[in-house]
């Protein structure tokens, strides 16, 4: 009747550490009086140790100092198989990389269940694992899905595609397309961090209609903000029980025109989310965000692969920014005489640099200011070509808070104009050179409210 024991290792229990199904810990005091409680987070330290977050269970913390033996019950998030782990208390962590990783996960997941701040991590107790045993189940636990395609090979292919690109457009497309074809992820965003406004702005989008290009969120908001603020990956693996605040608001154009804000796209019924910081030269440049309707869609292999890809993209984007200031030799650009006699009405609101074309909200902030500036120069001198170098100089003169990321701001502007199918478009004329297309006669007015 007893099944042949299989020697289990902590690596076999990966899906028990997703924080999806609560774990249980039992301890006993010096007299052997037991104490039992649920635990919010159990983290894998190495192949012989686990770390438990113990935010408010003072009794458990006291017991293990009097009697270091503990019993832990873990549940596999994929099939609810139960495991019984005999532990011995080793030491406590109050800082360091693992501590910070767990603290960030706790902040992100507790904020989403309406317990922000309550679950503040104070310390992590590290235990040595003495034995692992599977608990029998009366019903067959579901068969585990087959392991995914080799993530290392996939990551190498995506890195190769990113490295072959020369500009921000190509880099972002190569990354998102690679994540779709190599990894099978279908919904994702790339957000750039604009430090001067403490904002993340969507510059790449996959799988969403509308794309949400140009939407922004404050640093610190949700899993994306947490990944940017902490500079660490944040993951949620089962959102089925997460209380949803502010249910998905699907913004229509009419709303955009009124609020002057582009809604961040999102899946109303996402079960898994992952936010991976883009880090280069020691600083966070943005966040890669992916979501899925599957539970536990992102494994620890995915975490490793996505971290590598995000860093590769961050470096490539930073380099393309620098290279974009070197202008390629001029190409012959066919003149674009106004193809239409229609008037294109553009309004630039100075107070927030928002730009409206024929009554449709386009963008605000620095990108809005850049567009207004190009249109102004066109109105004055008929110019239809600009270089990154001169736009950057112009921006630096007129925008005291302008730092960098010109290339990605122009990209966001270009994609936004395309998505809105507006009669004004930007085109790339080669590295560091931008073309302005206006289908009609421009009438630019400034509202100096």
């Amino acid at each position: 009747m007893t099944p042949t024991p299989i020697r289990l290792t902590l690596a076999d229990l990966e899906a028990c550490f997703e924080g999806v199904i609560p774990s249980i810990i039992s301890t006993a005091d010096a007299d052997g009086l037991p104490n039992i409680s649920y635990l919010s987070h159990v983290a894998l330290v190495d192949d012989r140790h686990v770390a438990l977050s113990n935010q408010f269970f003072a009794k458990t913390a006291a017991n293990i100092r009097l009697n270091p033996h503990a019993m832990l019950l873990l549940v596999d998030a994929r099939n609810s198989a139960q495991y019984r782990l005999e532990l011995v208390f080793a030491h406590t962590l109050e800082a360091g990389s693992l501590f910070e990783h767990v603290a960030l996960q706790i902040d992100a997941s507790s904020a989403q269940v309406g317990m922000a701040g309550i679950m503040k991590l104070r310390n992590l107790d590290v235990f040595r694992v003495v034995s692992i045993e599977a608990i029998p189940s009366q019903v067959l636990t579901a068969e585990l899905p087959q392991s995914k395609r080799n993530r290392l090979i996939g990551a190498a292919r995506i890195a190769e595609a990113i490295a072959a690109e020369t500009d921000a457009d190509g880099i972002i497309d190569a990354m998102l397309e690679g994540l779709r074809t190599e990894f099978g992820f279908e919904h994702g965003l790339l957000l750039q961090l604009y430090e001067e406004r403490n904002q993340l702005i969507t510059i790449g989008s996959m799988g969403y209609v509308p794309s949400g290009i140009g939407s922004d969120i404050p640093v610190d908001e949700g899993v994306i903000g947490a990944a940017a603020a902490g500079g660490r990956l944040v993951k949620l693996s089962d959102m089925s029980r997460i209380r949803r605040f502010g249910a998905a608001v699907r913004g229509s154009s009419a709303d955009e025109n009124r609020t002057r804000a582009i809604p961040l796209p999102g899946m109303a019924d996402a079960m898994s989310q992952i936010a991976v910081p883009l880090v280069a030269a020691g600083s966070v440049r943005g966040v890669l965000f992916l979501e899925s309707r599957d539970r536990i869609a992102f494994t620890s292999d995915d975490e490793a692969a996505l971290s590598m890809i995000a860093r590769q993209a961050a470096m490539a984007l930073a380099l393309s920014e620098k290279l974009s200031l070197e202008t390629e030799p001029q190409r012959s650009v066919p003149a674009h005489p106004a193809t239409s006699e229609k008037t294109v009405q553009v309004v630039h609101h100075r107070f927030d640099d928002s730009v409206f074309i024929d009554g449709d909200y386009v963008i605000k902030g620095v990108a809005g200011r850049l567009l207004a500036s190009m249109l102004e120069q066109h109105q004055q001198s008929g110019r239809l070509e600009f270089t990154n170098r001169e736009i950057r100089l112009d921006a630096a003169l007129k925008l005291p808070d302008f730092k960098d990321n010109l290339e990605t701001r122009l990209l966001l502007l270009r994609r936004r104009l395309e998505e809105k199918r507006l009669p004004i478009r930007l085109t790339r004329l080669g590295r560091g050179r931008i073309g302005l297309l206006i289908e009609g006669r421009l009438r630019l007015s400034k509202d100096v409210v």
């Binding site: 037991p34 608990i135 009366q138 579901a142």
Partner: protein, 156 residues
Amino acid sequence: MFGDEIAGFIESPVMQIIGSSNAARRPEIGRAMGAWISTGSDTIDLVTSAWQWPETVANLRENGRIAVTFARPSDYVSYQLKGQATIRPAEPGEVERSSQYIVAIVSTQMRLGMLPELIMPVLSNRDPMLITMCVASVFVQTPGSRAGERIWSTTP
């Protein structure tokens, strides 16, 4: 004994986990499958599976030291009861009551969006044993500032 509120809570569809320890003070974990206030007595009865949790059954036979935490899946409201227990094989009526609990807890978890195939593997009352527990104290265990607070005790 403790008030009606706690009594009602432990009889409602909440998750039930059992802590015990052996002679060497090694702690153990088990699950209970149904709990109720014993008829005409100031103890509570709980059913557990000797098949899934043989160590828990052995510990309770040996020394009776027990801690049970009841946790409501919808809002994490939790109470821990500590005391002394005796254990014996469950009788048919008790097994029936335990099976009713299993139906109720599966329904509760399904309403919270959990898939039945992920709820069932942790639930079992195979080789059912009846634990009769004399409660000495009750503690709040809901995550938050009151966690660990003793709200009822037989001793001052």
